[in-house]
Amino acid sequence: MRMWAQSHLYQKLPRASSVFAAAFALIFLLLGASQSASALPAFARKYGLRCSACHESWPALNNFGLKFKDNGYQLMNDRDAPIWQNPGYWPVTFRITPIWHRVSSLNQVDVYNPTTGAITGSTAYRITSTGFDLSGLDFHTGGTLEKNFSFYVLPSSDPTASFHFETAMARIDNIANSPWLNIKVGKFELNNLLSEKRILTLTGNGGIYQTYHFSPVNDGNIYGQMGDNQFGMEYLGHSLDDRTRVSASLLSSNDGNVGLITGANSYSGFFTFDQAIDTGKLGVDRLGMYAFVGEAATYYLTSSGAPIPGSGIGNKGFSRVGFTGQFYFGPHFDVNVVTQHGEDNVWFGQGYGNAVNPSNGTPCPVSGPCGPNNTPGTVLPAGSRAPTWNGYTVEARYLYSPQLIFLGRFEAERMSTQATPGTPTNLGNITNYVIGYRYNPFMTSRAGFAYHGEFNLFHQDGTGPINGLGNTTSINTSELLFGLDFDF
C-alpha cells in the first residue's frame, strides 16, 4: 500500500499526460472507424478467407485455424500447392505496432547529498515513463512448397531493428495420406494449446505467459522456456477433423539459440495431447495435457578458467507438466486455462547451468546472465533441494463481434519448495493481471489492423530493489499501452 501511495505522489504529472494520450488514442479510434484497406496478409490472400475464419482475433487461433495449421497451412482442397496460385503471389506478411505506453516500476536509485552532490546510498524509487514507441518488426513468410510440403520463416527484430530468426522450419504433412503423420524440423513454436506466439497482448509483462517462463529466483536452468520457439523436430498427429491431436518433439536444450553453444549433447522432449469435445450450443471445447521433460548442461569445460561454449556436460534434469483447457460458453465467450507443476534439478536450483551466456555464447563471467560452473569437486550447499513450483494461467475472452474482443488474464506462480532451506517460501512468486481489447475497424481477407489497448499489473515477491530501510521490496510494475497493430 505504501508503495502505491508513494507512486501516486510522483505520478501526478505523468498521469495528466496519460489522460491526454488516452484522449488522443480515442480520437484515433473514432477517426479511423470509417477507414478501409486493401492489404494482403499471406494466408488470407491465398485462400480468400477473412482473418476471422482462422483467428478468434488475430493472431490467436480458433479451431478452424488450428486445423489449418495442423494440416501444414493447407485447406486440403486440392488447391493448396503453389502451382494453383498466381505466379506473382508472394507469401509475406509484415507486422509492426506503433504504440504509446506508460510503464511504472520500482528501481534501485542512487541518493545524492544535495549539498556535496556525493552519492550517499540508494533506495527503491518508482519511475514512471510514458511516450510513443514501437514494437519489433516481424516478417512472416510461410506456405506450401508443394502439396503437403510447407515452410515457415519468421525473421523478427527488436525495436532497434536487430534481427533474429524467430521461426525457421520446413514440414512434411499427411505422410502416406495419413493426418496422423506430420513432421517438422527447424525452429518452431511448441505445440501449446494456448500459444504465446499467438498471444493477444503486447506489454512486457502482459505480452508473455508467465507460466511458460517461470523459474525460481537464482535458478540456473536456461532451458525449460515453453513460451520460446525451440530448435528440434516435431511429430504431430491429428484426426481428420482435428478433434484429437497428439505431438512429440525432440528439442535441443539451447532455448532456441543458434550455434550449439549451451550444451554438448543435451536434449529435451515436449509431449502434448488434447481432445476436443463437441458440447452442442456451447461450442467445441478442448482438454489437453503436456509434459516438458529434459536435461541441460551444468558443467562447461574451461580454458584458462573460462567456460568453453559448446562443451556443456554434466546434464541435469527438469520437468514442466500440466493441463490445458479451452472452454467455449457459446460463440461469444471462452476461457483458456493452463496449469503447471515445475521442477528443476537441485544443481539448477543453486544457480548452475548458465555458465555460458545462451544468447551470444559468451563465456561467463565476461558478460551476460551468468552463473557458477559445476566444475569437478563442486559441492552443493548443505540441505539444498530441488526447487518445485505450481502455476496457472486463466485467460477469458469476450468476443463481442469478429472485430472486437475483450480479454482478461490472471496468472499465479507459486513456489512450493525453495532450493535453499530458510529462503522465504514466497520468494519469486508471481501474480499477474492483464486486461485489454482489440478492435478491428475493418475485416477483410487482405489486411489486418487493430486498435489495441491493454493494462497490466505485475507483482513478484521479494525480488525488487532495496528500499531506504535496507529491506528488499517486491516488484510491482504496471503497464498501459495503446497501439495501432497492423499487418500487411
Binding site: R50, N62, K67, N77, S401
Partner: protein
C-alpha cells in the same frame, strides 16, 4: 453562390436519380432478408439438432461472408478473384440451387445435404471443410443459408432418392459399367479415360454462363459431393444442379448405376475405395471406351 448551386442542380439531380434506386434496392433486399429471418422456413433440423438462424449471424460473418457476401448472393469481397474454371464461384444462396443433394434434380436439398456440404467442403474450390465447427454451429448455418431464398418458404425439400444396397463387385459388373459409360456418353465431357478431356469439355458452362470443367477421375481429386461409392451413385442419379452434369435417374436403372460406380472406380488412381475395381480392370485388360464403336 446561389447561381452556382442552380447551375449544378441538373447534374445533382442526375446523380441523385441514379443513386436512389440502387440504394433503395439494396435496402429493400436487406429488409426482406430481415423479414425472412423470422419465417419458419429459416430453420433446420438435422437428426436431433435444431438450427437457430439467429445464432448463425456471428459464424456466418466470421467464416462465410468473405465469399458468399452479406446478402448471400455469392458476391463477397473475394468472389471477383475466383477465376473459373480453376476456382468455382461462391454459391449464390438467393437462387437456392445446390450441387450436392440427395434429392431429385430441380428440388431443394434436405437440411442434412446442406449440413454435409458445409462439413465436407467443396474440393477444388475455396470452400474448405468446416468440420472443426461444432455440429450446432453447422446446423445454425444451414438455417441461415435457407433464409436467403424465398424458395424455402414456398417449396419443401425433395424426397431423397432411394439407393439400393451396394452389390458385390464382379468382373461382369465392371464391364457392364463400362457399357453404361459408353451408352450415356459420359466420355463426351469426362473423356474416354476419365481425364476431363472429352470433346465437349472445353465448351461447358454453368447456369450462370461461367466456364466449368468436368471432373477428372485420374488426377486424384475428390468428387465434390463425396468420395464413397454411395456418394458417386448419388451424384449421377441426382445430377449436380446448376452445372451441365445432368441427373441420369430416368436413364439408368439402379442396378446399372452400381455397375457404373464400379467402372468409374477403375478410372481413379489407387485410393482407399478402389483396390478391388482396379485389380479387376487389370485382370480384364480393360481398354478405354471407343466412341466410334457401334452401339450395343
Amino acid at each position: 453562390m446561389l447561381t452556382n448551386l442552380l447551375k449544378c442542380f441538373p447534374w445533382l439531380s442526375v446523380v441523385v436519380a441514379l443513386c436512389l434506386p440502387n440504394a433503395a434496392y439494396a435496402q429493400l433486399t436487406t429488409y426482406q432478408l430481415q423479414d425472412w429471418l423470422n419465417t419458419p422456413a429459416a430453420s433446420s433440423h438435422i437428426g436431433n439438432l435444431t438450427g437457430d438462424v439467429h445464432a448463425a449471424a456471428l459464424p456466418y460473418r466470421r467464416f462465410c461472408v468473405g465469399c458468399h457476401g452479406n446478402l448471400g448472393d455469392g458476391n463477397g469481397e473475394n468472389a471477383v478473384w475466383f477465376i473459373t474454371p480453376m476456382y468455382a464461384q461462391p454459391r449464390n444462396f438467393q437462387l437456392a440451387i445446390f450441387k450436392c443433394r440427395s434429392t431429385p434434380t430441380g428440388t431443394l436439398p434436405t437440411d442434412q445435404d446442406l449440413f454435409d456440404t458445409i462439413g465436407r467442403g467443396m474440393d477444388r474450390s475455396n470452400m474448405p471443410q468446416w468440420n472443426p465447427l461444432s455440429k450446432q454451429e453447422r446446423a445454425d448455418l444451414v438455417a441461415w443459408i435457407k433464409h436467403y431464398s424465398p424458395r424455402w418458404q414456398t417449396e419443401k425439400a425433395g424426397t431423397p432418392i432411394q439407393i439400393p444396397p451396394e452389390p458385390e463387385i464382379t468382373p461382369e459388373r465392371v464391364k457392364a459399367g463400362q457399357a453404361v459409360f459408353a451408352k450415356m456418353q459420359c466420355y463426351k465431357c469426362h473423356g474416354v479415360q476419365g481425364m476431363a478431356n472429352g470433346p465437349s469439355a472445353s465448351t461447358l458452362t454453368d447456369d450462370l454462363s461461367q466456364p466449368i470443367s468436368p471432373f477428372n477421375f485420374t488426377d486424384g481429386s475428390r468428387p465434390k459431393c463425396g468420395s464413397t461409392d454411395t456418394d458417386l451413385y448419388r451424384i449421377f442419379m441426382t445430377g449436380l444442379d446448376g452445372t451441365p452434369m445432368p441427373s441420369f435417374a430416368d436413364n439408368i436403372k439402379p442396378d446399372e448405376a452400381w455397375d457404373l460406380v464400379f467402372y468409374l472406380r477403375t478410372l481413379q488412381p489407387h485410393n482407399a475405395f478402389n483396390a478391388k475395381e482396379r485389380e479387376i480392370a487389370h485382370q480384364l485388360g480393360l481398354k478405354p471406351v471407343d466412341p466410334n464403336a457401334p452401339a450395343q
